[in-house]
Amino acid sequence: MTSLPRKSPRQKLGLVIDLDICVACQACAVNCKEWNTSGHSAPLTDMNPYGKGQNGVWYNRIHSFEAVDVKTGDSQTINFPKSCLHCEDAPCVTVCPTGASYKREEDGIVLVNGDICIGCKLCSWACPYGAREYDETEGVMKKCTLCVDKIYNETLSPSSRVPACVSTCPVGARHFGDLGDPHSEISRLVEARRGFALMPEQGTSPVNRYLPPRPKQHQKPKEQTPRMLEHKDDSTDGAGLLARWVDKVLSA
């Protein structure tokens, strides 16, 4: 049934991604691929992996953006990992004609049943965030499962029962928990750091939150910042006699 659950899910499991400290090392994307290529929607097929035009299924991708303050000209680079946001009002679920796409009532995770998916790709058109992937070899849609086969896996130690992207992040830029519970650790983190949702105007009510980069500290005034080397330097100030003579000859 691809209508959304009538009751709001008991839990809203999701990720919180800290844009302040992500270093774009790609470890989360690689470990995601590693875990999920033998997980719930396995495999994460790669097409032509060693030739030109490589293409493949990825649930997690890291973009890098630059934000330039128009007044001061100061710029900041922000590394931006993006995976499924497990929206509360998930359009990928309601457009699905077969019932393959569904949102779980118990924890709000959005999943695809690959056994009945017809591969019409409409869910990928409906998703604003690019969370849907088409597996060309299997002919079905795949997506981030929030490592549903890992977070409930009792053969793993409790500390490992988090999504692969979270357990592997070397800087702790990714957090996992119940965003439906206002008292959970992760909800308090969002509260404290003023976490935000992506494209709220699309009306999808994403569960995942992003933490903004912290303001820059100890910013030096312009006159104290190191001088910029111009690419073309006309001055010979401070150069030795020989250098000045060579400059004179070459400039003639």
């Binding site: 049934m1 691809t2 209508s3 844009l19 035009g53 293409n55 493949g56 990825w58 991708r61 890291i62 973009h63 890098s64 953006f65 630059e66 934000a67 330039v68 303050d69 128009v70 710029s75 900041q76 680079t77 922000i78 931006f80 993006k82 309601t94 457009v95 699905c96 004609p97 077969t98 019932g99 009945i116 998916c117 017809i118 591969g119 019409c120 790709k121 409409l122 990928s124 058109w125 409906a126 998703c127 604003p128 965030y129 690019g130 992937e133 088409y134 597996d135 299997e138 002919g139 079905v140 935000f196 949702a197 992506l198 494209m199 105007e201 699309q202 009306g203 992003y210 903004p212 980069p213």
Partner: protein
């Protein structure tokens, strides 16, 4: 958006077929269609051929065409599912009406309710098709009322022109009625298309790179590094770019071939050279097909998806 050939053929072909089914029933009830077996066989054959061909072609882009029947199940939430249900349901009354027309030579008394129901369901199916696109908030160029209006008007327009063509082939006097109806619908279609283009050109951005990243407070945002060195699925499916380069030329081609040329040729067949109306009708249909396929190709290729904001687009 990537303009898949199967989907272009599906939307244009099934649209024209449903348009024919609508006019066959409505004009017959008004007494403008002969209850002739041979004519009925060709007209309904063409209409059902286009509808069924379109539906079959739409399954070609599926990863699992053999599971297509499953798409009937989610009519409560999915317009694609509703479209499938409506398409199958339409075959029942339109099929019965065609049988009555061809085998009983009856098209406007006891078969009238079935004919009307078929016409209504045909329009409902076209509306569902348009809503598959019109309901997607992620593609602002489709998420406008003009999408539904243009799908309905173009179905009626192409259906009328094709039915005129069949009438001309059978040298029926009813060809004059259909020619006039086609002229009216071609003007209406042209107005609708121009209004659609105006509305998408003037629409303010619904999402921006700032809202997509939430980084607008820090300043002007731009992409410095994409996640991959090669195109991924998202860019292949939703990052189609070739159209926008030639958009204006293609728009002129679509308008000329899809609307202006068929209009001029129908006028010529009606008032100028009625003795040459068969070759003129063939030309008009060929031009119309090229025009409407270009129009539909542009409908897909010109539409920007908000996911491109994560790949360098700044506003959609």
């Amino acid at each position: 958006m990537h303009p898949a050939k199967s989907v272009i053929f599906f939307t244009t072909g099934s649209g024209a077929g449903y348009g024919m089914l609508v006019w066959l029933a409505i004009l017959a009830l008004m007494g403008y269609q002969p209850a002739d077996s041979a004519y009925g066989l060709v007209a309904f054959g063409l209409a059902f051929g286009l509808v069924a061909g379109g539906l079959v072609s739409s399954t070609f882009h599926l990863g699992h065409p053999e599971r297509a029947w499953r798409a009937m199940s989610q009519w409560r939430s999915s317009w694609l599912s509703r479209e499938g249900v409506a398409a199958i349901a339409t075959f029942v009354p339109t099929g019965l009406y065609a049988l009555s027309w061809i085998f009983l030579n009856e098209n406007h008394t006891f078969s009238a309710p079935v004919g009307l129901l078929g016409a209504f369901l045909s329009l409902a199916t076209v509306y569902c098709t348009s809503m598959i696109y019109g309901s997607l908030k992620t593609i602002p160029a489709w998420h406008t009322g003009w999408t539904q209006v243009s799908y309905l008007v173009f179905a009626l327009m192409t259906g009328a022109v094709l039915l005129w063509f069949v009438c001309v082939i059978f040298a029926l006097p009813e060809a004059i009625t259909l020619a006039r109806l086609s002229l009216f619908l071609l003007v209406l279609g042209l107005i609708v298309k121009v209004m659609y283009w105006r509305s998408i050109d003037e629409a303010p951005a619904t999402s921006t790179i700032e809202s997509a990243t939430g980084l607008g407070k820090l300043g002007k945002v731009s992409l410095v590094e994409a996640p991959h060195s090669e195109d991924n699925y998202l860019l292949k499916e939703m990052g189609f770019r070739i159209a926008r380069k030639h958009a204006n030329k293609l728009r002129v081609i679509a308008l000329l071939l899809g609307f202006v040329v068929p209009f001029a040729l129908i006028v010529l067949a009606l008032y100028g050279l009625p003795q040459l109306q068969t070759p003129i009708a063939i030309l008009a249909v060929v031009a119309g097909i090229c025009g409407i396929v270009t129009e539909r190709w542009l409908f897909f290729a010109e539409a920007k998806h908000v996911v491109t904001l994560y790949y360098g687009e700044s506003r959609v």
